[in-house]
Symmetry: C2
Subunit: 218 residues, 2 copies
């Protein structure tokens, strides 16, 4: 039986909707009272595994799930050894550099050398500033990255922006975008190559589901 | 003005209670509707900063907060450059190795070489198994570590256990304890050495608050 790793949080609703379009029903994960982390589809074709977003590529990399759905931002940051198969079009967001609206910095190159940049995405942030040849100190945070500039701990942040509301509420503005992100279908490379459990067919159906332009749930 | 970094989650209630015992009131952080991440105490003596547990030592390390409260487990895992001042006695938990109750492993040394061990605490886990001279592969996860053995991805986990309820619900048993943990008062080393904002006095008051054995809220 195939196992599909699904991410808790923002991408879950559309992921489940997409899988429903190919006949796999994991909608029980959306019930507010649900405590199960593994559900077998009613048709008995596949098992759904509900995990933290960042854990999806781990389960797929180790072959515990043959496919998974996760944001490109996580793939870019963690560089897991998984096959990137389909851009699922939903879950749009962008990785941006933001500073205090009251600061004089209009572009990343305005930041003084050895500035501090707070981020949950330390690899993305480091790579970006190395590309600019601007030496900065990356401060790794796990939550509320916007507190970095507010408390004065950092001059800038590198973080995911979707609507921009959090930035605005905290008096921050984007000064550049590193990359854009959407949800991706990923697979365990060996399972995909060997077509374990007729994986190719499921992937093709999902690809068609995306091309048929299912409405995106917000 | 001094800044105190406080951890969201389990340790918050007792942390606020302890600070109240020395006249600093940050109880507004406990209001369910609270969205503020910074509060100045009514007496104007100190500012509270509400952040993710793992971020507390970051704010203290960078001197953005002069003191903070955080579990020993986080200090042990991240090894931040902060001064460890007082064992606050609350927030007891232990870092344990657990396996499936149905497995034949009764001690870590029963695990086959090159077993997989899933953990959020990769440094603690690696250090422990290196100490045993048992080569294992540490699988880094961010949530629901108990899924590791359940899905068959890993033979064991290294995780925080407080009541043991989560393990039991998932059919797992502890086979050894790496170390025990409680909440700790930490300080920015330079601020503490320079006695910034009369920090020593506050620390002494907090130490006395602990010694006077405030009841621990559960």
């Amino acid at each position: 039986m195939l196992t599909v790793a699904l991410p808790k949080g923002e991408l879950l609703k559309n992921s489940i909707r997409l899988l429903q379009s190919v006949g796999l029903d994991f909608s029980a994960f959306l019930d507010s009272g649900n405590r199960q982390l593994q559900i077998t589809d009613a048709s008995g074709t596949a098992k759904g595994l509900l995990v933290r977003g960042q854990d999806v590529p781990v389960y797929v990399e180790y072959g515990q799930a043959q496919i998974g759905i996760i944001g490109y931002d996580v793939l870019r940051e963690k560089q897991p050894q998984v096959a990137h198969l389909v851009d699922l079009q939903f879950g749009y967001c962008r990785m941006s550099v933001a500073v205090k609206a009251s600061s004089p910095y209009k572009s990343p190159l305005d930041l003084p050398a050895h500035s501090r940049v707070a981020s949950k995405y330390v690899n993305s942030a480091r790579e970006f500033f190395q590309g600019l040849d601007l030496p900065v100190e990356i401060v790794p945070l796990y939550g509320s990255v916007e507190l970095g500039p507010i408390t004065g701990m950092s001059e800038a942040i590198v973080d995911i922006v979707s609507t921009g509301r959090t930035l605005k509420e905290n008096g921050l503005v984007e000064i550049t975008t590193l990359y854009e992100s959407t949800a991706r279908l990923i697979a365990h490379p060996l399972s995909y190559r060997l077509n374990t459990g007729n994986l190719h067919q499921l992937v093709e159906q999902l690809r068609e589901g995306v091309l048929s332009e299912l409405p995106i749930l917000t």
